[in-house]
């Protein structure tokens, strides 16, 4: 136990954040084939929204979690309606550029309105540290783990047990086929974008009180999340979650035993190795439209 157990625990709680981001990315990636680079910045935005709701409007944290998630969902819907829906027939590469432009806009808004200085999102309960069996875990990290579990289970139920979820999965598997079955693809796409962005929102507002807030805080996690979905196998939420936990553990162990500053470099190394030697990922069945 001791050191190793602590690193594993940290890795799991970090993996939860990556899992939320990666499953949101997978939804958008599966249906649109667009890597939404702005996902990390949306996550940053949600953390700030939660921060301002609690500090400025003195709301309860749980209300802030719900409102920030809804706000991000609406933002995702607007993004789809004003940017990606008009571009549905444009070349794919233009959609990447639009996602980058969205990233720049969000970063610019954050720099201008939220300021460049780092912010502490301090909650009364978040200061508590739980200790058991020699391991320490911040209260907020426990909330992140439990929240992720709830979200993941309900997402899985939504996709597997509801008709709308089935339509979502069908569209991701075969767009034209889904159209032929009478599924309104543009509505399903709007839904996927909304849910995908709301997942980034939950991740951001849950992790906010456990980290420092700054306008660039989303870039590292989104790269890890992208690496996770490639590592785990594109197109499957299960693969994305598995990849997220593996990379979260790896990052925690690497920063514990080697160096914390270079942890992103290790993740990038894993990404390159996966793409070179097993491009379909761990759970992927085939290479995702090369």
């Amino acid at each position: 136990m001791g050191e190793l157990g602590q690193y594993i625990l940290n890795g799991i709680s970090q993996g939860c954040v990556y899992a939320l981001l990666a499953s949101g990315l997978t939804l958008v990636f599966g249906i649109f084939d667009i890597p939404n680079f702005a996902q990390g910045h949306l996550y940053m935005f949600a953390a700030y929204i939660g921060f301002y709701m609690v500090t400025l409007f003195s709301m309860s944290y749980w209300l802030a979690v719900i409102l920030a998630t809804i706000a991000l969902g609406i933002l995702g819907l607007l993004t789809y309606g004003f940017i990606f829906y008009p571009m549905r027939d444009a070349p794919k590469v233009n959609c990447f550029v639009a996602a980058l432009a969205l990233l720049m806009i969000l970063e610019g808004v954050a720099l201008y309105f939220f300021g460049t200085e780092t912010k502490w999102f301090i909650l009364p309960h978040a200061k508590r540290i739980l200790t058991f069996g020699g391991l320490a875990l911040a209260m907020q990290r426990l909330i992140v783990i439990i929240g992720t579990l709830i979200v993941m289970v309900s997402l899985q139920l939504f996709i597997k047990r509801t008709t709308i979820g089935a339509a979502l999965e069908a569209t991701a598997q075969h767009r034209e086929g889904a159209m032929l079955c009478g599924i309104k693809v543009s509505r399903v796409s709007a839904l996927a974008f909304t849910v995908g962005t709301a997942l980034a929102g939950i991740a951001g507002v849950l992790i906010g009180p456990a980290v420092l807030l700054m306008p660039t805080m989303g870039m590292g996690p989104v790269l890890v999340a992208f690496s996770a979905i490639i590592f785990g196998g594109l197109g499957s939420i299960g693969g994305a979650v598995l990849g997220a936990f593996v990379l979260g553990l790896l990052e925690s162990l690497a920063s514990g035993y080697i160096s914390a500053t270079y942890s992103l470099t290790f993740v990038f190394g894993i990404l390159i190795l996966t793409l070179l030697f097993r491009p379909k990922g761990l759970l992927g069945k085939e290479v995702w439209r090369p």
């Binding site: 084939d33 667009i34 890597p35 680079f37 940017i83 008009p86 571009m87 444009a90 070349p91 794919k92 590469v93 233009n94 990447f96 550029v97 639009a98 980058l100 432009a101 969205l102 990233l103 720049m104 806009i105 969000l106 970063e107 610019g108 808004v109 720099l111 201008y112 460049t116 870039m219 590292g220 790269l223 992208f226 690496s227 490639i230 500053t261 270079y262 992103l264 470099t265 990038f268 990404l271 390159i272 793409l275 070179l276 491009p279 439209r289 090369p290």
Partner: protein, 333 residues
């Protein structure tokens, strides 16, 4: 079309003459902005080669800029081997990095190439900031030399200690880069780049080794970005990890798309418009990312071919002129 073509040539000659004649009467502030415009234009041209002409969207150019700037700065400051050897070393080192990262990255297509280059850019940003012993970390690297004075006949020396001289030096490099890219794209090799942009599988089926062509294009592009970085380091005398931030790459992508990708003049026009306007309007630095993002979004949604591309489709219609498209001017697929 021939008439339009000659009009275009005359107007660019006019712009060149303006670029040479006007700066002496401008103040130091405006000259320094012109220097930056020249440097970012070079970077934009290098991105145009790999994205506009070869069709591979690279977000790793901020890393190449930083590699060029830091390798030039480190070689010049720590080894004291003079301006030109350090400059050459910077170009070679950046080209080598481009080659090495290109081998795994260019095997991938579409999103995966974009993701790997973005990952590379962020990684280099982390390393530059974290490897304090080597790069100076957040304190940056100071004391980077200006070019050595060039001895002219009659015992006169052309020194680079004034801003104006530095401007002409950078302008010369911009003209050389633009000319080089123009020749490259018009050549048979350049035509294979354009063919890869249109349809990579089809090009491969014609017996072209697309991997080696893409790798060549990427390496040249990286090297040009590295040269731009070395010029930036030499002009600024101090470099900090900020230049390695990946938003430098996305900003330059915005310049390229606003100007018009896959056109020869687009990168320069786009850089000029997007750098000059915020400077003239005295915009707060933090708002620049926001403004660039909004403008990029508007162009990519409504006018993806950019300013120059838009002109090229509108002008012939207005004049009722029809002509065959010239080499190197094609709509990006």
């Amino acid at each position: 079309m021939r008439k339009l073509y000659s009009l275009e040539r005359v107007s660019w000659l006019f712009v060149l003459i303006l670029a040479i004649v006007v700066p002496p009467i401008l103040g130091g502030y405006l000259t320094s902005i012109l220097i930056l415009i020249c440097i970012w234009s070079m970077m934009c041209i290098s991105l145009n080669l790999i994205y506009g002409y070869t069709g591979q969207l690279s977000l790793g150019h901020s890393a190449f800029l930083a590699l060029g700037a830091y390798s030039f700065g480190l070689v010049a400051v720590k080894l004291h081997i003079g301006f030109w050897p350090a400059f050459l070393a910077a170009a070679v080192i950046t080209g080598l990095f481009g080659f090495l990262i290109g081998i795994p990255a260019l095997k991938l297509r579409g999103h995966f190439f974009v993701l790997v280059t973005l990952g590379f850019a962020v990684t280099i940003g982390v390393i530059v900031l974290a490897w304090v012993d080597f790069t100076g970390g957040a304190n940056g690297l100071a004391g980077i030399p200006r070019p050595d004075p060039i001895p002219l006949p009659w015992g006169v020396k052309f020194r680079f200690d004034s801003l104006l001289h530095m401007y002409y030096f950078v302008l010369l490099f911009l003209i050389l880069t633009a000319g080089f890219c123009h020749r490259l794209v018009s050549s048979l090799l350049g035509k294979t780049f354009i063919a890869i942009c249109h349809d990579e599988n089809l090009t491969e089926s014609l017996g072209v080794n697309t991997m080696s062509r893409k790798l060549l294009s990427f390496t040249i592009s990286a090297m040009l970005a590295g040269v731009a970085g070395a010029l930036y380091a030499s002009y600024n005398a101090v470099i900090s990890p900020e230049i390695a931030h990946f938003t430098r790459g996305t900003d330059v992508l915005a310049y390229l798309i606003v100007g018009g990708s896959a056109t020869m003049t687009g990168p320069i026009v786009g850089t000029f418009v997007l750098v000059a306007i915020p400077e003239v309007l005295q915009v707060v630095p933090y708002l620049k990312t926001l403004i660039n993002g909004v403008i990029l979004m508007l162009f990519i949604v409504f006018l993806p071919s950019g300013i120059i591309g838009g002109f090229k489709t509108i002008l012939p219609k207005l004049g009722g002129l029809r002509g065959r498209p010239r080499a190197g001017e094609h709509d990006i697929a």
